[in-house]
């Protein structure tokens, strides 16, 4: 097989299309949307949905004790938790859709929701 041309028009085209595809893929799949609502699940049931655009503190009394969820400036966090590990508290504030904080000992989980439901590994 002989290749004659030094300037490979087709190659440039392939590279150009791939670049467009990569940019498109980054924009589509790595799109993080700021959530507007937080869903609080408590003891296996939905406790309620709360807007993120308010300042609010919620107290949930579970088996282990009192969990305090704080909503402030469009973000949400576990302010205090009775559990041993404190993983939920240490993860800090969340505000993107699909982000989740879970406190298994006290059976509390919070998830940020938006217009569309983001993918997450927990639903799998």
């Amino acid at each position: 097989m002989k290749l004659r041309s030094k300037f490979f028009l087709g190659d440039s085209l392939i590279i150009f299309i791939s670049l467009i595809f990569i940019i498109f893929a980054f924009k589509t799949f790595w799109h993080f949307e700021t959530g507007s609502v937080v869903q609080v699940n408590f003891q296996g049931k939905t406790y309620g949905n709360f807007s993120l655009f308010q300042n609010k503190e919620m107290s949930l009394i579970g088996k282990e004790g009192e969990s305090i969820i704080e909503i402030k400036e469009g973000r949400v966090r576990f302010a205090r938790s009775p559990c041993k590990n404190q993983y939920c508290v240490q993860q800090g504030w969340i505000h993107f859709t699909g982000q989740m904080l879970i406190c298994i000992p006290n059976e509390v989980s919070i998830e940020v929701l938006g217009k569309t439901k983001a993918y997450d590994s927990l639903n799998y």
């Binding site: 004659r4 190659d11 085209l13 791939s18 670049l19 790595w30």
Partner: protein
């Protein structure tokens, strides 16, 4: 007792396939010990040999080299019939299919560089399809598409360039 000697008649092409496969297997093994930032993000340097075989000889040689490489490497690494092997096979098959069509493109405009990029994209497409359909049937793997496609472009270009230089060195193009 008479000793029976089994002799298989081999052609020159068989020897060439064997040689090229041996190089491809070696490259695959080297690659398998290289650390990877993410599972699946690999340079795929054995693809150089597949491309080289296709340009230097013919498409049939490329199929042989590629498939032999997948089977032999998995046997050596103890991954035969494991998910790793299946992913590798799926990627290679789709990559070969793409090469089968793209080699028909006019060589005036398309060099091994372009074909290498196409084939590495096909490789990652095959793998992601298998992951989506079989291993992790969940939409969350779409998060990985941007990273994998960026890696496919970069490594495809590098491999293509190496193939191009090799072919030029051997006066095949």
């Amino acid at each position: 007792m008479t000793r029976s000697i089994i002799k298989i008649k081999t052609t020159l092409l068989d020897h060439q396939i064997a040689q090229l496969s041996a190089i491809a297997i070696g490259l695959s093994l080297i690659e398998s010990v290289l650390p990877s930032p993410m599972p699946g993000v690999k340079p795929g340097i054995a693809n150089i040999i597949t491309l080289y075989a296709m340009y230097r000889f013919n498409f049939r040689t490329a199929i042989w080299v590629s498939i032999l490489r997948v089977f032999a490497t998995s046997l050596i690494l103890g991954q035969f019939l494991s998910p790793t092997f299946m992913l590798s096979l799926a990627g290679s098959l789709l990559s070969l299919l793409t090469l089968y069509f793209s080699i028909k493109l006019p060589s005036r405009f398309f060099s091994p560089m372009g074909l290498s990029v196409l084939s590495s994209f096909a490789h990652i497409t095959g793998q992601l399809l298998l992951v989506r359909l079989w291993l992790i049937p969940h939409a969350s793997i779409y998060y990985l598409i941007p990273v994998y496609s960026a890696a496919a472009l970069i490594f495809g270009l590098i491999n293509g360039w190496i193939t191009y230089r090799l072919l030029k060195h051997h006066n095949s193009i």
